[in-house]
Amino acid sequence: MQAYGWLIDEKLCIECRACESACKMWNQVETGVGVRRRQVRVYTMGVFPQVRQQSLTGACNHCENAWCMKVCPVKAIWRREEDGVVLIDQDKCVGCQQCAMFCPYGAPQFNLRTRKMDKCTMCFDRLEQGLDPACVTLCPTGALKYGPWDEIRGKGSETTENFAPPRQTRPKIRFVKDPFPVKG
């Protein structure tokens, strides 16, 4: 299995949210039904003027040990053999939201219209055509990348601030924490 994962360089995110728009557009995710498969979340820390923010783009991390899949009572969540992408079978899903309760990353979301769960597919249809996921294609600064998990897992840190501890679910995501170069 050739699995894929995300690589995020927080310092490069300019909060333009191209990743969010791209995801919505490519996957034709209906608006206004409570589903944002990819979402930029901004966290504020400290007290003015000792204040700091972190912006973190988040989607499904297609965990190696996907709790959503484990807890699904109707086995609607499955993993593709060929690329490790975790998907929700819309025909099987009963919308009980159990997966959402167990996912530490807010990936499965309840679609208010279909009354079923929905989440990031890593644009597997694009991967199959040799294209990058839509969010990665649009990201203007390279803050969001993806690649073969065997290569990503050796990069950066396995966690960052405001990211749920990865031990249990083993999400396929790494964070580049190197700061910008210091001026000599």
Binding site: A22, M25, V29, L131, L138, P140, T141, F180, K183
Partner: protein, 746 residues
Amino acid sequence: MALTRRDWLKTTGAGLAGAPAALGAFEDYFQRASGAPAGMTRIVTACGICSPACGIQAWVQDGKLRFLEGLPGDVSGGGHLCGKGAAGAMQLYDPDRLKYPMKRTNPRKGLHEDPGWVRISWQEALDEIAFRMKQTIDTYGTEALLFVTLPSPDLWARFMNAMGVVNRVDHRDECFQTDMIIQKYTTGAKTWCNDFENSKYILLFGWDILAKAKLAYATGIVKARENGAKVVHFSPNYTATSRFANEWITIKPGTDLAVALAMIQVILSENLYNREFVDNYTNFGKYETEIRTHFAQYTPEWAEQISGVKADVIRRIAREFASNGPAIAPAHKKSLCANYMNSTQLVHAISILNILAGTIDRPGGRYFPRMHSIPGVDAIYPPPAYPPKKGRRVDGRDKLPLVNEVDAGIFSTLADGMLNKYPGMIKFSFWNAYTILGFPSPLKMVEALKTVDFTVVMDFLPTDTVTLADIVLPSAMYLEGNDAVARDYIAKYPQTVARKAVSAPIFEAKSIAYVAIELGKRLCPDYFKTPDGSWINPSTLLDEKVRRAGLGENFADFAAKGLVEKPQPFVPRTTFVSVAGADGKCQIYVPQFVAKGADPLPKWIPKRDQPNEHYPYYYMTFIPAVHRRNTTENNSILHEMFPTNAAIINPALAKKHGIAEGQKVLVRSRAGQIELPAHLSETVPPDVVMVAHGFGHVSRALSLAGGVGARDGDLIPDASIDDFVAAGNYGGSSCIMDAVCSIEPL
């Protein structure tokens, strides 16, 4: 729609393409994948949400726009788009779009009146507009016409010129007008090209330049940081740009001018300026005594009293800026230039900082764009002489001669002019793509508009302005038209992209160029004929523009190429052609200003409104990164990301007034009041109330944005032209952030 594997197989037949391309070294792998998504065709076009016009490749499937992405090789967006640009299809397919010309049946006008629209034909609409215009001119003269539109495209400008329109106003007083004026007199023609990538020191005054996601700028600054540049951000509040900067320095709102003046003082008194550039390419030598004497008063200690920025910090930043070049201090937009009564002086001071750093048209500095020269309609079909423009300026612009020279107009004095200075003068108005939300005191603008006998509004969405129209014209939008776009935001060498329609205009939407020609045929036919006597045809005109600019044999040929560029080495200028008498040099001291009632050197003047016992807090507004002012709030994707606004206050301020997160508050200023929920955030200082601009559309025909949020402009006082003259605001900056307010829980 969530795709399961089963769906996918159903729609495509099979997952035929194998695993992604061969894997090389890790970094190689991150080279962008190329090739077309299956079953889609590619159209090259240009974004039209904001001005840099990033190149786009649009993917169309079964005749429907499916996906927008960046155009590889395009310098403007760097081959990418931002969140707004990527959601452009939602503008195109917005179900609320205006579809047909319509006529009002309800004679009462008001934001909450039902206009009683009836559908009419284009023919009928144009005939009526032409009749009303002619009748107005015959009875009252051309000064009774008001055009609230940009002077583009060129066919539209020709129409207005041919009709002798005196009163044309646009939003540039809220945007780059002051920058245009100052650049013209200090360094030459207007430009907004900044060579961030090669800069080593980037000084940002109060401008959330990164999050505004003009990618041409944002990606340049990212590259600069990767190249080891230092970024310093003066801003009262903490923003995405502050996070990105090496240093964020909080400053009292509206006092950037004091810091800039003190920086000049330090650089001059310590002789840190770029001697080679200043001696050879500026008028410093000629006016050295005046310049040194003038700035000597603005010490960092003086600036500290006003701005709250420590004197030693100002001194250090000034020294760093002057000694660690190439350095740049960009100026351009709303967040900086137009906000305060003293913004013209601030732009002059920033221009001087760039001149002293020696980076005007130098690597790492502010440079002049190198572009394809695309001729306008007047060059291709020379018009008969235009009639002289006679009559009074309703916005009083003629009292500010420098603003007159750049042929803009002033939004903030328009309502006062229509209601108080020249009541009843305007009988006919034509609005294109502007909403009343863009004005300070928008309700006053509504009252002013009610005094106009006949109003035409052309737009692509049913905005609040549309509600006040007598005739509505449905406008095509950027994805529905053809054009050659020579982008001037980052034009180090000429690079022009073909804007090709990805869709025919929906229903009966038409372009403003069409309206120009059709009204021209009816009102000023001599200006809309070609030498052989036929009517000007926009497609033929575009073919001719493309041919003369050397972009292709015709537009179809150019569009097939998509992007045409002419790489050339960057040769820095040695003469700076600004205005008569400038001797081809950059002007620090501007002698021509004296005759025009302006100061030859920037001097300190305070912002308009200061906190006081009734209104103790600064009022600040901002445009969210995911919106384009007043136009994208109804875009379903962007609406979902940022649906409404709030009064953003510091938790300390909230505690003082007993305000909880999400609680409704009343925010008041001398101009008006708004009610909205509070949002507590440590990113704003404790003496500031901050509200996002672009919300508070009243029009219920906007199904997402209508009735949502509060109008930030209700708290911003408009102005009279006399206020501007008295304050020395000779660049006419519109003070759209220059307000103070109170806040209380409801």
